[in-house]
């Protein structure tokens, strides 16, 4: 079995040239990208064992002496490849604002309170079936200066490696029914509606814990699928 990395699924991604998101204007490359045949440097990638993750890393409500303020939530799901097979033992890193919409980051100037009991960063490894689970606080929306009265919908940043340099992705998970979606140029930079909607987690009663926390499900699909005998091992 070997993984191949077809390019046709890449249309799900936004273009860096997305001028409604103003920070792209001086940062998006102006020259066309050069098609790179997949070689060893691309089809391999870093592997992170359990040494990278401690047990409490995935529970962001337990990183300080006290409990953070806000709505406790459980975010869980599976990491899959393009064929729907689990991506086991792969690292997920997350970071987010607190319940008031404030990031711990030193440059965040939003005048909303910091929470001494919440940093908002976590890590997890998927299990053998590609499953992961975080306990955290539902992040708040926050203003930014992209345009008049610009507000980001509540989101959690996700960073994943998967099996190779090609499967590396950083994305954002959103919450269902957010009224800010139509006005957010970062979310709207994904032009295919179906692809956009894949970034919206869904409320899930099965993973909701009674008297404790709401559950949200968010499955992540990374590049890579199994080669079939009719396919070349590398796409050129």
């Amino acid at each position: 079995m070997s993984l191949i990395f077809p390019r046709k699924g890449l249309t799900a991604h936004p273009l860096n040239n997305s001028p409604d998101y103003r920070s792209t204007l001086k940062r998006a490359p102006s020259q066309p990208l050069i098609l790179l045949p997949h070689m060893l440097s691309e089809t391999t990638g870093p592997v992170f064992g359990h040494v990278a993750v401690s047990e409490t890393d995935s529970d962001l409500t337990r990183h300080h002496a006290g409990e953070p303020l806000g709505e406790r939530i459980i975010v869980s799901g599976r990491v899959l490849d393009e064929d729907g097979r689990p991506v086991p033992h792969t690292l997920i890193e997350i970071w987010q604002a607190n319940a008031a919409g404030r990031y711990v980051h030193v440059k965040d100037q939003h005048p909303a309170p910091l929470d001494p009991n919440f940093t908002g960063a976590g890590r997890a490894l998927t299990d053998a079936e590609g499953r992961y689970r975080f306990v955290t606080i539902k992040p708040g929306a926050y203003p930014w200066r992209n345009h008049h009265n610009a507000w980001r919908p509540a989101h959690i940043h996700f960073s994943l490696f998967g099996p190779s340099f090609l499967s590396r992705v950083i994305t954002q998970m959103y919450f269902p029914g957010d009224p800010l979606f139509p006005f957010d140029p970062i979310f709207q930079s994904i032009t295919e509606e179906r692809a956009r909607n894949r970034l919206i987690s869904r409320f899930d009663l099965d993973t909701t814990q009674p008297e404790w926390a709401l559950g949200y499900r968010f499955d992540i699909v990374l590049r890579g699928r199994e080669a079939t005998p009719t396919e070349e091992p590398h796409e050129h």
Binding site: F5, G9, A12, H13, P14, L15, N16, Y21, S23, T24, L25, K26, R27, A28, P29, S30, Q31, L33, I34, L35, L36, P37, H38, M39, L40, S41, E42, T44, G45, P46, V47, E82, D83, G84, E93, W95, Y103, V104, H105, V106, K107, T119, G120, A121, H157, S159, F165, R168, V169, I170, T171, I186, S189, I190, R194, A195, R198, V221, L222, H234
Partner: protein, 191 residues
């Protein structure tokens, strides 16, 4: 066992400006997954230092970028192939001046398609506020004779090839600036 085929890839979104306490959290006192020190002292090979800056279309520093590198060891082997202590993975947060560095071992050459040889290089990802999808490039080295036969450099128009090649200064440090846009724009790859 039947497996349901997913609807499609999870789309990329920007890393945003506030990733440091999550991904490069040295200043926040949290443990780091990886740093700009790519190879520990026990790892065999020629020690090299690469320095550069990330610059935008106006030549202004990009002060909120994260740069990741991925490379083979000095014998052309990737992680977990009998080279203990070598991950081959580096991660750096650009400073407010857009500056970054990596300290590693010079990678070995690698096999390429159709019997070709790839000259030593690092695979590089650049993430930043304003980048909705990471940018991918490569760092080659100006003192490698194998560059002339490298199958990837051969794909790049000659006048832009230099943007992929780190230049060694009199101090022994390799310089590699990343220009996201405009004059001297770095070559980025469609993966």
């Amino acid at each position: 066992m039947s497996i349901e085929k997913p609807d499609g890839l999870t789309p990329s979104q920007t890393i945003g400006p506030f990733f440091a306490y999550g991904l490069t959290p040295r200043a926040y006192g949290r443990p780091e997954l990886a740093t700009e020190q790519v190879a520990g002292e026990s790892v065999a090979g020629e020690r090299i230092r690469i320095e550069g800056r990330v610059l935008d279309g106006d030549g202004e520093p990009v002060g909120d970028a994260m740069i990741e590198t991925w490379q083979a060891d000095s014998e052309g082997r990737f992680q977990a192939a009998g080279n203990a202590g070598f991950t081959g993975f580096g991660r750096a947060e650009a400073t407010a001046e857009g500056a970054f560095f990596f300290e590693t071992v010079r990678p070995g050459a690698l096999p390429g398609p159709n019997g070709s040889r790839q000259a030593p290089h690092l695979a590089v990802s650049i993430f930043a506020r304003g980048l909705l999808v990471r940018l991918a490039t490569r760092i080659y080295f100006d003192d490698e004779p194998g560059n002339a036969q490298d199958p990837v450099l051969a794909l790049v128009p000659a006048e832009r090839r230099g943007t992929l090649i780190a230049r060694r200064g009199a101090d022994g440090v390799f310089r590699f600036d990343i220009r996201l846009q405009g004059e001297g724009e770095t070559v980025f790859f469609d993966l």
